[in-house]
Symmetry: C2
């Protein structure tokens, strides 16, 4: 669910929800206050690590596409980011990640154990926030998508170092672990903004396509960007045995596919193995092919936006789609 790169989102995309986003930031800082110092240290670290708050931003934009009541829409925006933060901190434990967005991860600073608990704390805070004034339909969408995210992550762990995964497996996994939550953020915004059911479905579809494009781009950048650009080591996914779209393409189409397969099956890759693996992928059209898939999703995202959206919101959602396709780091 990694989106360390999202901090590079041009802020002008979100001008029309600037006040909302500032209110979210303020609420995030206040809700994570704990009487226990160590809990504060971890959660403040997580909030300060930043990111451009893509999920709450999409939620807020979609809500502004209708005619929401401001005070009612904020708690869900904050809860969405808290849930995202909880998944990130648990993800970093799971991946044994040392850095995220160029900063030490919570697990690197405070250990896996505190990080597991800090994630649990964020889950509870998120739901605590929603108990006051959220309708059951919205809570159901949120809890269902969290279950699906966990399932997606578990599948990813289970299928690590397994080169026998095809594109359909990959797309399902990405849908579960990333696109579903972004889709739900958009759908929840649509509901909060009072859109009719048909429009909410289309907005959800937009979010799903953005999420797919976003994750595929992440998976491409793992192979093409520099460590400085990524804020984490290059080839990190490959080293962890996560079989991404470029890897699947290369396994199928490279004359050195067998070599790549045996690198993956080794499970413990040396730096040289990772380097060779990346080289094999780069010798194919894997990156080109993957970007083509990104563009297909983004095309679909642009097309599926409902006609009833007001113009500033439509422009912002289109700009998000443009940016996801452009980012090269």
């Amino acid at each position: 669910m990694g989106d360390y790169l999202v901090s590079k989102f041009p802020t002008n995309i979100f001008t029309i929800i600037q006040d909302d986003l500032e209110a979210v930031e303020k609420a995030l800082c206040s809700i994570i206050q704990s009487p226990v110092d160590l809990v504060n240290d971890i959660t403040v670290h997580l909030v300060q690590a930043g990111g451009k708050r893509l999920r709450p931003a999409l939620y807020l934009l979609c809500a502004r596409g209708g005619s929401p009541n401001t005070t009612e829409i904020l708690p869900m925006a904050v809860a969405i980011e808290l849930i995202h933060m909880a998944t990130l901190v648990h993800d970093d434990v799971i991946d044994n990640a040392a850095t995220r967005r160029g900063r030490p991860t919570a697990n690197a600073r405070w250990g896996n154990h505190s990080s597991v608990l800090a994630g649990d704390y964020l889950w509870a805070k998120a739901f605590s926030l929603l108990t006051d004034n959220t309708d059951n339909k919205m809570l159901k969408i949120l809890t269902n998508v969290i279950c699906t995210m966990c399932e997606g992550e578990i599948v990813q762990l289970k299928e690590a170092f397994n080169p026998d995964q095809d594109e359909a497996d990959y797309r399902l996994r990405v849908a579960q672990k990333t696109a579903g939550f972004i889709a739900a953020s958009c759908e929840l915004g649509a509901i909060a903004g009072g859109m009719d059911e048909g429009d909410a479905v289309q907005v959800r579809e937009y979010g799903y396509s953005i999420g797919m494009a976003f994750q595929i781009t992440d998976d491409i950048l793992d192979i093409t960007a520099s460590a400085e650009q990524l804020g984490k080591p290059v080839g990190n996914d490959l080293r962890q045995g996560i079989v991404t779209l470029p890897v699947i393409y290369a396994l199928k189409n490279s004359p050195r596919g067998g070599e790549l397969r045996s690198i993956i099956e080794k499970q413990f890759m040396s730096d040289d193995d990772v380097k060779r693996g990346l080289e094999i992928i780069h010798q194919t059209k894997a990156v080109e092919y993957s970007y083509a898939q990104v563009n297909k999703y983004l095309q679909h995202a642009r097309r599926v936006l409902p006609a009833t959206l007001n113009n500033p919101v439509r422009e912002a959602l289109l700009a998000v789609a443009d940016f996801v396709g452009l980012r090269k780091y």
Copy 2:
């Protein structure tokens, strides 16, 4: 939050809620079904690992102390157990525990990473269950107590291997990590059963006292019971540097207190260190003193039960108090 021992609860205590408990078991088995096999394997393992469902049982008993609507009270009972299971599976990751209740832990069988995710999955399932028909006040009680549990666990991690903890630190930590959730289970039952506010506060106090007594007993048994009785190694807490009541007593009162202190401060204890540590504790009146504290809490639990409770429920709650004081394994 360990209650591997609770499976030894005499079932006749819970006769009056037998049907409720069976419905809870059935609902547990059905709600954890996932389309992902590995998720199922883990969650089914967790449900089958059993336990006598102390928290939902207390919730149900307290609910039956009033006049609840049966279909309305069940989801919260199931959610309480799901949340407890989530904390157990994350606890076992945190403690690197190999066995619980004499069976391999989820982390031992499926690895830490899947276990973290399985715990998250259970959180989400619990809240998913409550979105349909739970009032906000009850959700608030539940989410607050989960935050407090996480804080208590983080404090326990932070203070591990620190011999400079006194009884007040210990009591606060136990209140946060164990007694608060049992208190909340009882309070939620009282609310579900429509008790008046004064009675609900008293029932909560009963739960709190039972929880304190329960955890102190657990901490005593870590020192006195056999590995076979515990279903996990003896001196496990000591080895992890968890400074429990008997340890605090021995640190203060044993002529070999300095030796015990240096064993704890070593952080990595050999089997011989653990053996010596236990021996030092046994040479004092630590166990006797700790049981005296258990009995004080149980006395208070018995006394604080509201006069308005119907007799079968009162008898059952008193029997729970008796059992917590009697169990020697």
